[in-house]
Symmetry: none
Subunit: 126 residues, 4 copies
DNA sequence: GTGGTCTAGACCACC
DNA sequence: GTGGTCTAGACCACA
């Protein structure tokens, strides 16, 4: 999973997500120095300003911190990272279940569909 | 669930979703006549132009049809409605599982989390 | 007090401060519509992007909200505005007293100096 | 109070402030010899170049003087030190009162808030 | 070389 | 006309 930007959502939002995942997955480990803004921008083939915007957002989340003229660093607070992961998961879970219920599915159906999707990678093939 | 419009996504897109759900859930049954565009717009507290745009999209999906000078009707093709429901569900399922995997969850974890979420309405409370 | 930007701090930060004060002082009353980003930028003689950055910050503070394609509005939550005022005051107070103590002043001296400053607009003239 | 550097302002400027305070508070008494630049840098956990820049600034203020090949000394002019203290205090006072007025506080309120802050260390708790 | 800031100008979807 | 986003390019202070 690396820097694949789609056109449906704001680029900077996708960058936040991608970098957040890289931190969660230890591709950017706690306390490590991030590549420079310019380098990250080059990797993602994006304008440095756009990358900067994404990084600022991650900074307000507390996931990274910035040391002037030195670089940006992943937080050393592993609990905070774990928390971030949970927060995202809870958000996804809630939104998913709500939408499925809105579509008229019963809880048992939802469970079964999830099982199928996970096993087959392709639901509704019963 | 009724006409709750948020500010984060295009209004017309949310209308498409809401009306689609009402059709799926038989609040607007097959072959029934829809309220006038003007009335629907009033219900949703939305500009009639915006409602019109949403209805056009539902029409291209085949879920509703226009009879000139008479009004708009929900399709009588129940299979098509069922199909629409499945299409949406598959899309949600796929997106959900993909995102959870991106976050680093294993398939078994995902199943368990879904179970918890459905039962408690509140995951991560083991 | 109107849009006087100095060169010592980031422009956008000064804009946040100025607009925040205008809200506190009811120059931009609760629930009122703000001028468009472009207009505000013109008033402050600043690039629209810079103004946008300031407004986004005020939005994350909750002081203003944005309605897509319609405009930006001051919050109607007067308590939140009052709270914002207090938060700023407490911050200023704390920083001030701490600095004065760091300089070696006793509490009584600080009080007297504040009195003098307020009355004369000019301390150390005893 | 000792060598706590934050990331929001230039490091050298913070060093100027800290060392200035140490002189004002007689931690570095008049006419005394300062530790070597290298040692000061080590204490502050700062690059010697940065410390050097701070000391140069204090020298132009007249607070310290350089004796070639011997070291740097705090000025023996106690009036000058006292003046420096006053200059800083006046600056803080003026800035503080101006900001509080900008926030819409009346002079009497400001006095009361300062009293509260000094006594409780916690304003707005009436 | 680093992050931070700002400008200018453009395009977009939406209402 | 509205907010939102993005690019390109530039400058700055700092280390």
């Amino acid at each position: 999973m690396s820097w694949e930007i789609k056109g449906d959502r704001p680029v900077y939002a996708q960058l936040v997500e991608i970098i957040g995942q890289k931190i969660i997955k230890n591709e950017f480990p706690p306390d490590s120095k991030l590549p420079s803004v310019r380098d990250l921008a080059a990797m993602a083939e994006v304008n440095p300003n756009t990358m900067q915007k994404a990084l600022v957002e991650l900074e307000t989340e507390g996931l990274i911190s910035s040391v002037r003229t030195t670089g940006k660093y992943v937080t050393n607070d592993v609990d905070l990272i774990e928390n971030y992961k949970r927060k995202l998961a809870v958000k996804e879970l809630g939104a998913f279940v709500r939408k499925m219920k809105d579509l008229g599915f019963q809880v048992e159906e939802i469970k079964q569909l999830v099982d199928k999707e996970i096993n087959d990678g392709n639901s509704f093939r019963n």
